[in-house]
Symmetry: C2
Subunit: 150 residues, 2 copies
């Protein structure tokens, strides 16, 4: 955890981006590190946790991190929590909270509140377009012999 | 929307990955396209929506997509919904639903249910480690003159 928080300090001091760092650990070894690179890389998805997960997957040559855990300098936002689930991490630890992040102007807590609402009632509304093909593509996936399930 | 769903079909047929496609549109022009590349690129975050947002940001040279909307072949998962918020899209449209995705074995609906629980009660539990520096890094960010706020 000290390494994750240390990465966050370094990122602020170097002007690299937001005050966030994360590491992915497997069997006591750090296999992926990340800092917030949103503004540096023009990528709103470049949160420390996402960067660390992608780095760890590259280092293992795998799209899953089943025996791994994450240490994040701050509580993961919903995007990063979703990524933790898709990566199938074992568990995660965090130090700062979504309230700390809110105090510094970050939307983590706000997005948690928004996700709990029905899609059409959110500040960024989601609307369904009914299209038969949208269901059929899943049927094609289920029937496909070429797929790698995940 | 037909383009987003068409990308999803192409991705299944080419063996590229999961049955998902997305496009980001600005003023009627498609400025970013994405298909699911999780297994092809060993990247659990390479959902169609994330890939499309990253592509659109590259094409605009910006980390925000304020005047843009997304068309996604299926309802965005919590990770992708979080990314839509961080990218500050105007709104999004989807065709398939989280139930369609669940029927094909994808965890979208499950992850929505998990996110609503307290961190320590989730299947992938999150535990807080109290560390004074974790709050101090936000103070340093607030004081920093070199930052690009977002």
């Amino acid at each position: 955890m000290r390494e994750a928080v240390g990465l966050a300090f370094e990122n602020v001091r170097s002007g690299g981006g937001g005050p966030f760092g994360a590491v992915v650990v497997r069997g006591g070894d750090v296999i992926g590190r990340g800092v917030n690179g949103v503004t540096a890389s023009d990528d709103p998805t470049a949160h420390a946790e996402i960067v660390a997960i992608r780095a760890a997957c590259r280092s293992l040559g795998s799209f899953q991190l089943r025996d791994c855990e994450m240490y994040a300098s701050c509580e993961p936002c919903p995007m990063c929590l979703g990524a933790i689930y898709w990566a199938r991490l074992r568990c995660y630890y965090y130090a700062g909270t979504r309230s700390d992040a809110a105090r510094a102007g970050f939307d983590d807590s706000y997005i948690y509140d928004e996700i709990a609402k029905p899609a059409e009632q959110r500040a960024i509304p989601g609307s369904r377009v009914v299209l038969a093909e949208a269901g059929q593509v899943f049927d094609e996936w289920i029937r496909s012999g070429a797929k790698t399930p995940y």
